[in-house]
Symmetry: C2
Subunit: 359 residues, 2 copies
């Protein structure tokens, strides 16, 4: 069986050259006589890998030295808890923007730790849009403002980010490194690796050092960012393989032209699909136009039976992972950095054919 087009929302498609290199090196990492899976995280060889991963990420995103770059376990779900454990002091509160399922989960974990003020909730629009900056009224004195830059389930994103007085914390799991951002506008950025960066099971955390240093020392050592900053990402044995893949992905990103090139390419890919969805009432795109995600494109058909047929026939045509999230149904195409333009063209052709037969 040949490799198919994988529209999965995550874990998701990785660049083929990354997979090929990982495969070639899997028995013997060059010069080491062992697999990367067997290598001590304290070895000189591994030290060079983890340092290169960090340096590449700093270069690609333009991360100032005043920020730490950490590789931590557990993906975004663990960060939903770690963010308030570190940044929400006793007696304080944090502002949260509620844009969908992921923002909602972050709010739930924060409410366990302290006081949360939800400054905007998209429920009235069924989470099919994000707020415009002018709609957001932040509360003076909040410990931080939290938002999710891109919601994979609704298929909405912040096309631009609000200005905040308190540190802005963003869950960028599903659009990190898909566009150029100014890191210095954020206090903390976190992202599970499994969409744009690498395999599942780890998170990338970019944190302004002074914020981590303010964390009260009363909590568990393992859940404090400061612990992982002292000996960067090596307080415990990290997910050595995921960091290795992340290094390969970062090299691929640089070779492809960096984040500006990715942003242009992602715009092209998403536009192609949105144009197809906008040409005929047969297709019913979900997200409001001004909030449309470039990563996760969601739409419905007239009924669920037709949607099921679409998913099944697309899969038979080598287009897999097009089923919407089980909580909302419908259809979804995830077009992360590594997803090739040819795959979008193939999908659009398939859609034209499907509409002719079923429209």
């Amino acid at each position: 069986m040949a490799r198919i087009y994988n529209f999965s929302s995550g874990p998701a498609v990785l660049p083929l050259p990354v997979l090929e290199k990982a495969q070639a090196e899997l028995l013997e990492y060059p010069g080491s006589g062992m697999s990367i899976l067997e290598m001590s995280h304290r070895s000189k060889t591994y030290d060079a890998i983890i340092k290169a991963a960090e340096a590449n990420i700093r270069q690609l995103m333009g991360i100032p030295d005043s920020y730490a770059v950490l590789f931590l376990p557990g993906g975004a779900s663990q960060q939903f808890a770690m963010v308030p454990l570190n940044l929400l002091p006793a007696g304080g509160f944090a502002d949260y923007v509620h844009t969908g399922a992921w923002a909602g989960k972050a709010i739930k974990e924060a409410e366990v730790v302290g006081r949360v003020k939800v400054v905007w909730d998209g429920r009235g629009d069924n989470y099919m849009r994000t707020p415009r900056p002018a709609e957001l009224k932040f509360n003076p004195g909040s410990a931080y403002v939290h938002l999710c830059s891109n919601e994979t389930i609704g298929g909405v994103r912040f096309p631009e980010f609000p200005k905040t007085n308190s540190p802005l914390v963003a869950d960028m799991s599903s659009d990190i490194m898909s566009r150029v951002i100014d890191v210095s506008n954020f206090g903390l950025i976190y992202a599970g690796l499994q969409k744009n960066l690498g395999p599942a099971g780890s998170a990338l955390v970019i944190i302004r050092r002074d914020l981590a240093e303010k964390t009260p020392e009363s909590g568990n050592l393992f859940f404090r960012y400061a612990t992982h900053m002292k000996e960067p990402s090596l307080y415990n044995t990290p997910n050595t393989f995921a960091i290795y893949i992340l290094k390969l992905v970062s090299e691929w990103l640089a070779a492809e032209g960096g984040l500006a090139a990715m942003e242009a390419r992602n715009q092209t890919k998403a536009s192609l699909l949105y144009q197809a969805l906008d040409t005929s009432p047969f297709w019913r795109p979900c997200a409001r136009k001004d909030s449309r995600s470039l990563m996760n494109i969601t739409w419905r058909l007239e009924n669920e039976e037709l949607e099921a047929r679409f998913v099944q026939q697309a899969k038979a045509a080598g287009l897999d992972g097009l089923k919407g999230h089980r909580s909302v149904g419908g259809l979804r195409a995830s077009l992360y950095n590594a997803f090739p333009l040819e795959g979008v063209r193939k999908l659009v052709e398939f859609m034209q054919d499907f509409e002719q037969k079923n429209g």
Copy 2:
């Protein structure tokens, strides 16, 4: 460069057939058209993998149905915090046995959460032995008793486990599945994968279901075992690759004869090296004989200069990772399940040669 003998304490050597299979499948997992690294954790194909991993582990260890088997992020260090967060109620206390660096780290995290009573501390013996069951006087009413079954730094293990009235919690990171144990004597067993089970970045947790169900609901959802039991190990996106490797390792273990066969083999390998260390005063084994680890064998030479020469010349002879932990120095050979007998023979030959030249 050919594969060398890797004595690293973890991440550590994996079975060659596991690496070969992972390599062969890395671009296209059979029948899926994609890499295991790109595969949705909600797909049917992945569901079969994670269920097989759990079933194989249950079979190999004889785990009763009254226990949950979970794959959680972050290795043992995260469990040092999660165990007391889940099992140490407000106003209660837990008994801890202090056998070395790892037990010490577990104690430190538990003290953040609640009251800890250290029932035995090996400091007086420089952590070069574990207590005999008769030395342990547990406190009535403890929420649980915690011990580390094998300390990688000192190179000591519990040859047998104490009987306890409170649930026995064991960090088995460095000797899980290296010997036959009776799971029903334990309340909770946890282990980072990166020594006997797979790559770094995840933990295996085996927990008596009734214990998880007693956890207070006040804490963060993500850090509660009960959360991960409801939808087994799929509350969040797990470390899909590590679980896949763990499945391959469990298949290898079964094919090799299971844990009884491993225990016999580990006994043979360790005896061969301990015999060599006991033949001449040139070698100075560290651990007391009744506490010697079969996994991590530690010894010293007359001085550090000689130890450094040993490490360097051994590495040149294709025997890597023999340096002791940076906190104690000396020499250490880690002989996990996947470490081949031929490698121990090679080391013993090298040692004889080294003694002749330097003795």
